[in-house]
Amino acid sequence: MSHKTIAELSADLAQKKCSSVELTRYYLQRIKTLDPLLNSFITVTEEKALAQAAAADERRAKGENMPLLGIPIAHKDIFCTEGIKTTSGSKMLDNFIAPYDATVVTKYKEAGVVCLGKLNMDEFAMGSSNETSYYGAVKNPWDLTRVPGGSSGGSSAAMAARLAPATTGTDTGGSIRQPAALCGVTGLKPTYGRVSRFGMIAFASSLDQAGMLAATAEDCAILLNPIAGHDPKDSTSLDQPVPDYTATLNNSIGGMTIGLPKEYFTGEGMDAGVTKAVEAAIAQFKKLGAVFKEISLPTTDLCVPTYYVVAPAECSSNLSRFDGVRYGYRCEDPKNLLDLYERSRSEGFGEEVKRRIIIGTYVLSAGYYDAFYLKAQKIRRLISNDFEAAFKEVDLVLAPTTPSTAFKLGEKSADPLSMYLSDIFTISANLAGLPAISIPAGFAEGLPVGVQLLAPHFQEAKLLNAAHQFQQVTDFHQKIAPLNVE
């Protein structure tokens, strides 16, 4: 059962080959058996999941037949879930029971999705290895001595071990695509504004975007359908038409033009195994009829520096809400109000979060605002302009998702700069607000490699179409990490 996609499980439910309760019990058992090896879940909601599954079975018995009705998934612990602990991977929110659901959670509930629990993540989504979580590091199911990527590391590890048939994630600088690549699963970051951010604990509001990790592009399409669209509770969610993302999956990609940014393919900096897999993916796309063209994204070298101004600046502002007064962690016996603020925040936040708050406060401070924050916003415009020009020539852009395969636990945790550079290929999509997908493209020394496709704003259907066609002629996405309970 763990090898089945959501599309297949949905068909099984519709044909009454299994019930949602049986499916949910199956995944709960897998979590119980395998997650002690991975640490991918922070909270498992067994009772609620079984109740939701029973309700879904009743709805199916009454004739309802929505594709996700009765499908169990797990949410990244950044999405508020009413009545269920929502921690964002932080001690600061270890006692936080959300009083409402995120819009993504609400929409999945309406679609009949069963929630298996909440997934581990880098603290407040700040990290690329899932090592900054208050709840401990997550292990990569392909090699338990390696990281699963981050910040959606619980989501990618759980998905790779098939502890759920799909998971939700968020992507601020690559936090869906990088872990998807390192764990050999498919991860979609939609266009900024395509999916509501309401109830998603904010890190950097102009970059954060909700998405999903699944086995296939087809499953991502099925999962995107109910959550895409405008939400009156999020003024940055745009009121654009929402197509049926499954409708165009089988279109031919013959004649589709895919750009290869010359700045990403300098022949240096990437692991040989990654280069080989990316080249093989390009050859495969060519066989499918895609036409490749070299393009230039001249501001590529400034993506990482720009991101590390914009994201910490927004983080320092967003995280100022955690003050020990209204919710979350409060220090013991505060001497006065300042002591309450300072000790609650200092004891509640982890090291990486504090580092980013300090960077953000610094770049926003008087005397540095113009030189750093305003300047970064101007460079951001150049980065966006680069893509705008590129998409006049090509339909999609192809790039490696990561420069290397999964690195060892602890390998980069002492050197924040080296960790930041893990996201060198993913950050530009967030700065420009573009949709992007990472798909499994092979293995290097037994570890998964991902390749990334980027599209113009709101062209998720085109991304999913190309990714689906690739997955019709490859089988990397069918490989499951060698942890077995059956």
């Binding site: 029971i97 266009t191 590390y308 320092s316 003050d323 007064v325 919710y327 200092s346 960077i359 030189a371």
Partner: protein, 131 residues
């Protein structure tokens, strides 16, 4: 990946910084240390502004990390951005949706107070601020 970055840095190092306030990356380590983008005292000050207290013994290492990060960030000043409009978000130029100014949510004060560290008579409690 490190090699990619080294290539990028190498290219950047050959250019001079446009803003006089930034240390020239071509300076040798000794001079760079004498003119860093952030000092230990700056770190203490910024932490206070952000309402964070730092362990004094961690400040040297923390400052060293921040100097490295800010050195990397400062390269944004190597690119000419004259006449470029700042971009605060991907759709900053698009008119965003605004709701009608009417009440749509019920009062959820009691639910909000259930998760508060300390409340009394419908108010959040904090240490006394006025004698």
């Amino acid at each position: 990946m490190i090699r990619v970055w080294q290539t990028v840095i190498k290219g950047l190092l050959s250019r001079s910084c446009r803003l006089i306030k930034f240390p020239n990356p071509n300076l040798n380590e000794e001079k760079k240390l004498a003119n860093p983008l952030i000092t230990e005292n700056d770190v203490r000050k910024v932490a206070h502004l952000a309402r964070l207290t730092l362990n004094e013994k961690d400040i040297p290492e923390r400052t060293k990390n921040l100097v490295n990060i800010l050195d990397m960030i400062a390269h944004i000043n190597d690119r000419d951005t004259q006449n470029i409009t700042p971009m605060s978000s991907p759709f900053a130029d698009t008119e965003l949706f605004l709701r009608d100014d009417i009440v749509t949510e019920p009062n959820k004060r009691d639910a909000a107070h259930l998760i508060a560290p300390a409340t009394e008579s419908g108010l959040y409690l904090v240490p006394q601020v006025i004698d």
